[in-house]
């Protein structure tokens, strides 16, 4: 176990070294070394530009993700547990799910304009259907025997929901939230680049306009780390809450 972890760390270090090497060898207009990207990040942090941009992006993320989850989880649950809801919604959702979320962007611009509202709408579209499908699939596959046992012992409805249905649903609900959140991060950066540039997207496009590849790589790395961080955070919460799921 220590061996594989050591290799993983080694791999990350080696990757950074390769990045540095390629960056030093190639002209700065095309690619920059890791050290240049770090110094850009440091500079932007000192001038407060980066923290403000990250804050703005995270606010959009939170708003869109919360709106999406509040609708997607109950509807997904209803789809998984109630036969006629599932069958009525299934064809429509399969159809809408087949449309790439980005294709909605011109339509959303017509409705919500180019600024904050539209950005939130894009985040909602990007993560809504993912969370809906996962919740519906999960709710449909809750072990019947668990519910039957509770019914055999004539558990009251409240008790049944509180001590059987909710614990049985937590694993797939947390999966839905985690995957939805990663999609939402992608939605935020897409919106900030394709609409009027804002926050992290603006920093990225400003760097692009100046052929500042160090800045671009630094922002890409920041976006990647934000995605990884939100995912790890939810995984950590999952492991704490769902002790019975995994050893």
């Amino acid at each position: 176990m220590i061996g594989t972890r050591f290799i993983a760390v080694l791999s990350v270090v080696a990757g950074l070294a390769v990045w540095e090497l390629i960056g030093r060898l190639s002209p700065p207009v095309l690619f920059s070394p890791a050290s240049a990207a770090f110094s850009y990040l440091w500079h932007q942090t000192v001038t407060m530009a980066l923290p403000v941009a990250i804050g703005g992006s995270l606010a959009t993320l939170a708003a869109g993700f919360a709106l999406s989850a509040v609708v997607a989880l109950p509807v997904g649950f209803a789809m998984g547990r109630v036969y006629w809801v599932r069958e009525m919604l299934h064809p429509i959702l399969t159809g809408i799910y087949a449309i790439p979320p980005a294709a909605f962007i011109p339509f959303l611009i017509v409705w919500f304009g180019l600024f904050a509202h539209s950005r939130i709408a894009i985040v909602v579209i990007m993560c809504f259907f993912e969370m809906l499908t996962i919740t519906a699939t999960g709710a449909a596959t809750i072990d019947r025997r668990l519910l039957d046992v509770a019914r055999s012992f004539s558990a009251p409805r409240v008790r049944m929901i509180g001590s059987v249905l909710i614990p049985a649903s937590l694993p797939f609900l947390s999966t839905a939230l985690r995957i939805g959140l990663v999609r939402a991060v992608a939605g935020v950066i897409t919106a900030e680049l394709l609409l009027s540039p804002a926050n992290l997207g603006k920093l990225l496009l400003d760097s692009a306009a100046r052929f500042n590849t160090a800045g671009m790589l630094a922002i890409i790395a920041t976006v990647a780390l934000i995605g990884l961080a939100v995912q790890q955070m939810l995984l950590w919460v999952e492991r704490r809450v769902l002790r019975w799921e995994r050893p």
Partner: protein, 251 residues
Amino acid sequence: MTLLLRLTGVALFLLIWEIAGRHWGDSLLAPPSSVAVELVALAGDAAALTTIWVSLAPALVGFVIACCIGMPLGALMGRSPVWNALIHPWVSLFVVTSVAAIVPILILLVGTGWWFVVAVVVLSSVWYVTLTTYQSAVRIDRRWLDVGRSFGASRLQAFRTIMLPALFPYLLAGARIGLVHAIRSMVLAQLFIVSGIGGMLNEASMDISTARMLALLVAIMGIGLLANHGLGRLADGLAPWQTGGSASTPP
């Protein structure tokens, strides 16, 4: 009964859309009746069909490249802990990175031509193909490989007769997830450089009526459904020992 409910669902959806469309008017939400007219016009428009076809080509090329890289990589990661430890951190970093963030630097590196779309498609779908293949390769029953070894199968034989049949349905599942992401990122890439389907969407959004834009969305939906369904059929035909391949799997 199921069919009846499904048809009712679709009919209700179209009815609500029609009423809402009439209420808000064409400029905000064109009702299905006018979208259908646009769709017929689109189907008769040879130039538009050519554009759609031409813009699908880089998505397919990118998808094939992603499969050629992702499947062997995933199988390697699944069977070798050392390679897994080396590669996994990078794959899990890139799979959460939005491909949109990489677009600006890709434009600098490869320009905005045909290969730009291919690059975006590869960079967004290869990680999903890799991870799906990896997850199934990890779960191959050890005992099957042990039986092979007991009977003196060579490494190549074990790979060809045990690993491949066991992996096959999952390879197709990975391919499907990859294809979904390939089509998504194709549209995203074309929106950035305003060409192909993305360009058509952009142009349609300049219209006062939203009918053409919604017709394009329906057309894209048709392409997505067709691609997904086609791969599902292929899975059932090629690997009949594994059923359920055509169930709609969320990525």
